[in-house]
């Protein structure tokens, strides 16, 4: 079976506690993606929505950022990356107690593949490409926490 999205109501794993977002400051987003083209597209897209964006090129860089006390309202992570993939990075972030919203964005589209990614601790998972509609859903979920 092929899906476009999982999560935000379709989550089969336990819900994760979210931190309260200060609506007066810009939403901060960490984009975790190794492909430079997709990194650029996602960065410009999220910036267009008025968010502040930081980039990491693999899961380890993302984990290291949180270990250095950085914090983000939203982590947007690819699945397949060198050094540390999205599943491992998500697991580590959750085990560290990170309560940021974590959304997966992947080219994989089989239910089993998306579910495996979700089970790592995602709030939702989307099949690429990321577009304005999907971003709107994610940001609305973030603001409604």
């Amino acid at each position: 079976m092929v899906s476009e999205k999982m999560g935000f109501g379709n989550v089969t794993s336990t819900s994760k506690t979210m931190k309260i977002i200060d609506t007066e400051k810009k939403i901060s987003i960490l984009i975790v993606e190794d492909d430079l083209l997709i990194q650029k597209i996602h960065k410009v897209m999220m910036t267009k929505f008025g968010t502040e964006v930081q980039l990491a090129t693999n899961g380890k860089e993302a984990v290291d950022l949180f270990l250095s006390s950085a914090s983000f309202d939203l982590v947007l992570t690819d699945l397949e990356m060198p050094i540390m993939d999205g599943i491992e990075a998500t697991k580590q972030l959750r085990s560290m107690g990170v309560t940021s919203m974590i959304v997966g964005v992947t080219s994989r589209n089989q239910d089993s593949e998306l579910q495996a990614f979700m089970n790592a601790g995602l709030n939702a998972c989307y099949v690429k490409p990321l577009n304005a509609e999907k971003v709107t859903v994610v940001l609305n979920e973030l603001k409604n926490i």
């Binding site: 083209l37 997709i38 597209i41 410009v44 897209m45 397949e80 080219s107 490409p129 990321l130």
Partner: protein, 127 residues
């Protein structure tokens, strides 16, 4: 030919790709490309040009890698699939509709370990 002329030619060419899409509903570009064009503004005046250029560079590299992998005496279909998977991701993100569809078909050949479908069919289509 200066950069301005090249950019104008690029704009005319992309417009023609869209006309092709609207006429036949099976064109080279899909709505994702429209979304990317909307992201171009005064803060990112060359955004479309930059992402298309990046896509071309990536594509050449990936197609070369796929071709080399398929030329091996023992084809590592998992390696080929990894390249195709990456290509599918970037082509769908940029709105390269036909390339994305070819990649999807290519992946099924890889799953079947079908060398004729991969090397004889999909590589020329992508090129």
């Amino acid at each position: 030919m200066d950069v301005g002329q090249l950019q104008r030619q690029f704009i005319d060419y992309t417009a023609s790709l869209f006309r092709e899409m609207k006429k036949e509903w099976r064109g080279f570009l899909d709505d994702q490309f429209t979304q990317l064009r909307k992201l171009q503004d005064e803060n990112n005046p060359d955004f479309v040009f930059e992402v298309v250029s990046l896509f071309f560079v990536d594509s050449e590299k990936l197609v070369n890698n796929m071709a080399k992998a398929l030329e091996q005496s023992t084809v590592e279909f998992k390696q080929v699939d990894a390249h195709v998977h990456q290509f599918k991701g970037s082509s769908s993100s940029i709105g390269a509709h036909r390339v994305k569809n070819v990649c999807a078909a290519f992946r099924s050949f890889c799953e079947q370990q079908n060398i004729d479908g991969s090397a004889g069919g999909s590589i020329p289509m992508v090129e």
